[in-house]
Symmetry: C2
Subunit: 429 residues, 2 copies
Amino acid sequence: MTIQPLRLGIAGLGTVGVGVVRIVQEHAALLTARTGRAVSITAVSARSRNRDRGVDLSGYGWEDDPVTLARREDVDLFVELMGGSDGPAKAATEAALAAGKPVVTANKAMLALHGQALAELAEANDAALRFEAAVAGGIPVVKTLVEGLAGNAITRVSGVMNGTCNYILTRMESSGLPYADVFKEADALGYLEADPNLDVGGIDAGHKLAILSAIAFGTQVDFDGVQLQGIERVSIDDIHRARDMGYRIKLLGEARITAAGVEQSMRPTLVPADSPLGQLEGGTNMVVIEGDAVGQIVLRGAGAGEGPTASAVMGDVCDIARGFTLPPFGQPAATLTKPVRANAATECAHYLRMSLRDEPGALARVATVLGQSGISIDRMRQYDHPGDDAPVLIVTHPCAPSDLSAALQGVVATGVVNGDPIALQIQIP
Amino acid sequence: MTIQPLRLGIAGLGTVGVGVVRIVQEHAALLTARTGRAVSITAVSARSRNRDRGVDLSGYGWEDDPVTLARREDVDLFVELMGGSDGPAKAATEAALAAGKPVVTANKAMLALHGQALAELAEANDAALRFEAAVAGGIPVVKTLVEGLAGNAITRVSGVMNGTCNYILTRMESSGLPYADVFKEADALGYLEADPNLDVGGIDAGHKLAILSAIAFGTQVDFDGVQLQGIERVSIDDIHRARDMGYRIKLLGEARITAAGVEQSMRPTLVPADSPLGQLEGGTNMVVIEGDAVGQIVLRGAGAGEGPTASAVMGDVCDIARGFTLPPFGQPAATLTKPVRANAATECAHYLRMSLRDEPGALARVATVLGQSGISIDRMRQYDHPGDDAPVLIVTHPCAPSDLSAALQGVVATGVVNGDPIALQIQIP
């Protein structure tokens, strides 16, 4: 019996698409040895046909329309690498699934916003839908959660999942440059999404966290339930002050299940500088998984880039070539429950920075309001100031984030602060 | 259509076996949701029937003979948790595979010594043979290599894979106690294998490395090809001197493929104290994988213990329940090549300690012989000494390990050193 090759149709020939083409071309023998069948490419699709992408595409068919590519009879598996939560990416994915064809995608936005509907469509058509590359680049975290740790009740998933934000924060610290300058650098280096708010607003990382949370807890993906805070307001002064206290600031995601429901948050957080998370440099991602049997598992690797993301895509392609089948989120979509959203209730210390008006008693009023709201102050420091803008740094004793939010509303209502205070959680050790 | 439950027969009710029973009992609903079928236990087997193991076994059948258990008609999957490379573990595994039944095992010794024959038997009978729990406890490293990174040519696998050795080395440093005392402590705590040489001689970790190496490079498992050095000769002085230079000593395994062949080694190595490997405490394991597409992936977690190891066993059980099939070593056993053994050729700095006879010119003779052998000295220090035993510490510039071995033979031949010098590699940063 001759086993037929697995014929890919690849839509999207950016960095990742080119990486996938390269692996298929360079590792043909390896892929056949490992999966028991040849992996080939039938046709590709992208916005521009004539751009030189550094790989030879002459042997493949071309489709202007990814939906047509997805429906081609000679395409067994559709690889979606266009990006964008809706539009052509979603249309082509749906077309492939409706035709009963497996889909491998790196599209976190599409999964985070339409994951439930797509999983239902995939299962109704008995087609695989896999997305290892959508979360944490080359780190096989989806596989670890869905398969490796299938014997565990997962209690918590956390980590640093956006390399661009981590690059900006670590570069600010190493260069001493302010946020705006490093943002421009990152843009010039091509690190930022077309809409940079997806990165620095924490949205991209929030998409990834929502996907992991759904898998971990057997709930429907709930991106709107992620409490999001971007890194735009983290100043170079915050970074220096955090460092003086032995911390570094990371865009940290956390999904946790408690009796109250599912807590999901993605926010800049002070982590101990000498901890594995604190030592994470540049574009590296780290995911920490806690399960009732396994304890804590930590996974670290490149969060983006041609090779790592293409590696994740090909891991999924190989699983499909090997005939593995399982529901997209690890259990049937119909059994995924709607998550009860819970506010982060775990008490933690907070770092606060605010700017006081230059008037007598301002600092005392802030301290009084915080005290009356039950927020206990661990450290407080007022800095020299040139004009009507006295920076104040406060570290609180552990308190519930919701109590702190209410307290800060009270502080703003006094009228003695300029603008909104910034509040960053300090990771519980 | 009703899907039949997957009925386990578990041989071996030590820590791990009890952990597996506990997960099957406590997570019945979770396992069914995730795998699409119930996972149940038909019967168990162990040396002593009447011991109280803290779990209720009254609902299960009992077999004195694990081979009988493996052959029972009402056992669909045989879980081998007895240990030992041969004897009942191997006999029962072979019986199950010969009957076409999948086997999940945590038995690194059996896999390292008989992996090729068992894989051939499994494939001939179309039965799965899975062993995630055999390597690095709860860390899904086998799955990561075989599946997640299937699109990569793997170039290197390294790490700390024996929690007991890591416990002894970190405990020596934190307590200041000599090796012999900490060894006794570890024994009293039940951390050591029945034959402690399996742990401290590096054999257990070497078994794990040989398994990972085979998977990574598509070669037949070759435990005899692992260059082994145990931790028995690492003294508290070595630990202190390494620390003074910014290093910690870890039992580090490394498998690497080069043009010359496969290099496998497991030996105490100086690693930078502030690196992730250097910071690894107690029983934690860390595995570092390098692939041509993914770059470097680091996995960290508990390397042993009831929960973590049972978690790994259950990951394999769930894969089988889900119907995943793949060859034990990731590609058909017949395609695994015999590895060409290569000596470690990569040059690295070395830490040397030797004891000199109290005679004039002894140190000069050592230095001369090393120099004549092409070994260049970075640092050299002679310590105070009470009798005819002057400890000398030398750090070499990078050199090939084989050149150093030859040079040390020359040093011993001078007759000015007492006993054998100890040589530890310093990890290339």
